[in-house]
């Protein structure tokens, strides 16, 4: 709790409104849960504006109106823990963590929002969850829930429940919840457990077994002793189940990492300043390059686009690959243009580069070769069969000359030079800056490809 604030606050004798009228049925466990909650807060003297009470849907969600000065957030069904997690995350990481967040949720909400409970436990944020488990949905007429015991008669199990109930505490223990307890609303151990849970710095949860006097009690001849029997039969141990001191709060771990983050390397992200006032290229040029995953198709295209920008051009780059990312084809569609680029689609590319069979299959599946007109050029690796195309087809030993990892970049640089897209100097200088491979060797290979007439005739 924030120092300096506590000292000026008056002593809180109750957190409830004046003359509270508990909106629950006679004998309902919820009334005792809320009374015990109030008593625990009084004992701990929690500053009322440093406590957020987040309530779920269902009877227990009516608790909001009973508390005078606490912040109350009444949420949607099952999501209370998730909203509470957001509050606690922002509070602890962004504002030092002066707020305590308490969630009131029923057995229905706990199952709807089970993963919110699991994740809150994993994160270990400073939230206390009271799961008020009365085995039925009271507000809608006593239907069975996922924690309804076997043989239990409910509105939806009129002949007795035949599905075994889930053990919420075990799930949360397995989710690394550092504080887990189970008790009954009327059990003498409840107040002390509640105090401990609220005072606990981190995620704490208490499953409170309750009697729904309206529905569960009449259909099942239920009373306190029978409730204890049910717990025993299901192996639901009562009391403090987990009290781990070895878990660090999320905010603390986040802040430790934060120091590392500030010391980490800054990603290479230099501003590109166009060197020449007038770009060499006079008309927009569209390029499709396609090959295989692992050939660095998309990153090579990015390097050449960076050089295009440095030479005064506008660019757009669209990458494509199968959803599995690391297999099959990899492709990029590029525009290099002396003017701002509007529509980024490419129907008939000016240049098509294909470095592998995956790439050829990709462009063929998109009917690109046959759509090309006579002004388009298609450069493919010489290992590939010649496709039917309306464009000029050229076959070069890209893979043989540049190798698997550099075939794409080699083919791109080759095409850039051949089509006078930009000056050799700008392309070289940008590659020197951004490419980890040997740029001079790459250019020597490009020159060899061009000068020695390595084009392979079909």
């Amino acid at each position: 709790m924030a120092t300096g604030i506590t000292s000026i606050l008056p002593i809180h004798s109750t957190y409830l409104v004046d003359n509270p009228r508990f909106p629950f049925c006679k004998g309902c466990g919820h009334t005792s849960v809320l009374r015990r909650l109030n008593e625990a807060l009084v004992e701990l003297q929690v500053p009322p504006h440093r406590l957020a009470l987040v309530t779920d849907i269902g009877c227990i969600g009516l608790a909001d109106g009973l508390f005078k000065e606490l912040h109350t957030i009444h949420t949607t069904h099952g999501r209370s823990t998730a909203f509470a997690t957001g509050i606690a995350l922002a509070d602890s990481v962004l504002d030092g963590g002066s707020l305590k967040t308490v969630v009131l949720i029923g057995d229905g909400g706990a199952m709807i929002g089970l993963q919110h409970l699991v994740h809150a436990a994993m994160l270990n944020i400073d939230v206390t969850v009271l799961i008020c488990n009365n085995f039925v949905y009271g507000m809608t007429g006593g239907q069975g829930s996922s924690v309804t015991p076997e043989c239990f008669v409910t509105a939806t199990t009129p002949y007795g429940n035949i599905v075994p109930p889930v053990d919420l505490c075990t799930i949360l223990q397995a989710s690394h919840a550092p504080f887990v307890a189970r008790t009954m609303a009327t059990d003498p151990s409840f107040p002390e457990l509640l105090r401990q849970a609220i005072a606990f710095k981190g995620f704490s949860v208490i499953e409170v077994l309750e009697l729904c006097t309206e529905f569960a009690v009449p259909s099942n001849e239920l009373d306190g002793r029978k409730l204890r029997d049910i717990a025993g039969r299901n192996g639901w141990t009562l009391g403090l189940l987990t009290d781990r001191k070895d878990r660090t709060a999320f905010a603390e771990r986040w802040n430790e990492k934060q120091k590392e983050r500030h010391q980490g390397p800054v990603p290479h992200d230099e501003i590109l300043r166009p060197a020449g006032k007038v770009p060499q290229l006079k008309h927009a040029l569209s390029v499709v390059i396609a090959g295989s995953a692992g050939e660095r198709i998309q990153s090579s295209a990015g390097l050449v686009c960076a050089a295009a920008v440095a030479s005064g051009l506008y660019i757009s780059q669209k990458n494509d690959n199968p959803v599995t990312q690391g297999s099959g084809f990899s492709a990029s569609e590029l525009w290099w243009s002396p003017e701002e680029i509007g529509f980024t689609g490419i129907q008939r590319p000016d240049i098509v580069l294909v470095t592998s069979a995956d790439g050829l299959r990709d462009v063929q599946s998109r009917s690109i070769p046959e759509r090309l007109g006579s002004s388009s050029a298609m450069y493919i690796d010489d290992s590939l069969p010649a496709p039917e195309t309306g464009g000029k087809l050229h076959r070069f030993p890209f893979r043989q000359v540049f190798g698997f990892k550099e075939a794409a970049l080699g083919a791109l640089v080759f095409a850039v030079m051949k089509h006078h897209v930009m000056s050799r100097e700008i392309l070289q200088s940008v590659l020197h800056e951004r490419y980890r491979g040997n740029v001079d060797k790459l250019f020597a290979k490009v020159d060899r490809l061009e000068e020695t007439g390595m084009e392979v005739r079909a």
């Binding site: 998730a82 997690t85 995350l89 962004l94 983050r261 501003i271 920008v309 757009s316 780059q317």
Partner: protein, 397 residues
């Protein structure tokens, strides 16, 4: 802001996708909290926030699903920090419950919806503009939610800042409606032309970090207003004023209440606070020609094809106007009426099957013939728009 022009070429360019620019716009807007769940084609926003937000002192983290992601953001916003999440259609479907909660609890929030081809999981890597009405009409009661739709990477940045401003001023969720092409296409972005401003603050007497030292002005409840359109001052959960928030029908204090006059007034207020300001919360690009008889209306990625088509039509001697709408909702009625002057044909170009946005625009285009240019599975091309303009196959010059 005045800048000295060095040359006719942009001077500071970075290669950026629309997704990256949305994340960077959020940082510029003062977003301090991001929770996400990966989904193509929106993952780039999530990843950029993970990479950049912690260094700004904020928190970006991975939620176990989209429902948790948006709920974390709403909780963080209630605590007082600007929050954002991003998703695509299938994740949006899961978030709708909590969007309604943010609307009802008057919680500022920015959600980026990067559209892909639907329905259901549809096509993860195929673009589409099929979520425009799913985004807008996702609330029971059909409340107006602001929807902002960028056409390129720079606008992703600018409109994200605007989305935060609107979310904060209106105390409500604002949707950034992007799409696969806008989000994932990398472009040369001129950083020297981007706005330097941050987003405006939520109307509040209570600063996030300022606990208790303030001049305590009278505040009559979490959702208090006099006139229906007034926006109640924001107080953070954990601040020195009690917050009573609820997603259930409530009075101006936030107390659960059914069907009282005050409760119904609160519901009217949720709509009034945006519809009363509909002429102020507008972002369009009007490219109008005097005596034009045809108006092309478009948005998002298709607006780029529309711009190109209109240029080509003008080159061919056609008198034609273009209205690119960023603020799809609230519908920019005045701007539309202005663009419609003298127009007898309206063409609405959008990448969906039946003309979703057209279906809501039509009622504001009385007197003009409204037609659609529609398509699914691929971007609408300038040629397809030109064919609709001339009603015959387009022969490029």
């Amino acid at each position: 802001m005045a800048r000295k022009a060095q040359s006719h070429l942009p001077q500071s360019i970075r290669l950026r996708s629309g997704n990256q620019m949305m994340a960077e716009g959020a940082l510029q807007a003062g977003c301090m909290f991001f929770a996400g769940y990966p989904i193509t084609p929106a993952t780039g926003i999530f990843k950029t926030m993970i990479d950049l937000l912690p260094a700004k002192g904020g928190i970006a983290l991975s939620a176990p699903d989209e429902i948790s992601a948006i709920a974390y953001c709403i909780g963080a916003s209630m605590r007082g920090s600007r929050s954002m999440t991003a998703t695509s259609g299938p994740g949006w479907a899961l978030m709708i419950e909590s969007i309604q909660y943010a609307l009802m609890t008057e919680t500022p929030l920015v959600v980026s919806l990067v559209q892909r081809l639907g329905p259901s999981t549809g096509g993860a890597t195929q673009g589409a503009q099929g979520d425009v009405l799913l985004a807008e009409f996702c609330t029971s009661g059909g409340y107006t939610l602001p929807v902002l739709c960028p056409t390129n990477a720079s606008e992703c940045y600018e409109l994200t800042i605007l989305a935060f401003t609107w979310a904060e001023l209106l105390r409500m969720p604002v949707i950034l409606l992007s799409d696969k092409e806008t989000g994932m296409t990398i472009e040369s972005v001129d950083f020297s032309s981007l706005p330097r401003s941050t987003a405006q603050n939520r109307p509040s007497n209570f600063a996030f970090r300022d606990l208790g030292t303030h001049n305590r002005t009278e505040r009559k409840g979490t959702y208090y207003f006099d006139a229906l359109h007034e926006i109640p001052p924001f107080a953070p959960v954990g601040g020195d004023r009690k917050v009573t928030a609820t997603g259930s029908a409530h009075d101006k204090q936030g107390r659960l209440q059914k069907n009282s006059t005050e409760t119904i007034d609160v519901l009217k207020h949720l709509e009034q606070k945006i519809s009363w300001r509909r002429d102020d919360f507008v972002s369009v690009v009007s490219d109008l020609q005097p005596s034009a008889t045809t108006l092309v209306v478009s948005y998002g990625v298709t607006a780029r094809a529309a711009r190109s088509a209109v240029q080509q039509a003008r080159n061919a001697g056609e008198r034609i106007s273009l209205l690119v709408i960023h603020s799809l909702f609230p519908i920019p009625v005045k701007k539309l009426a202005h663009a419609l002057q003298g127009v007898d044909t309206v063409l609405v170009a959008e990448e969906n099957m039946s003309g979703l946005y057209r279906s809501v625009l039509e009622r504001y285009c009385k007197g003009a013939k409204v037609r659609g240019v529609n398509k699914i599975g691929a971007m609408i091309t300038p040629e397809e728009i030109l064919e609709a303009v001339f009603e015959e196959p387009w022969q490029p010059a």
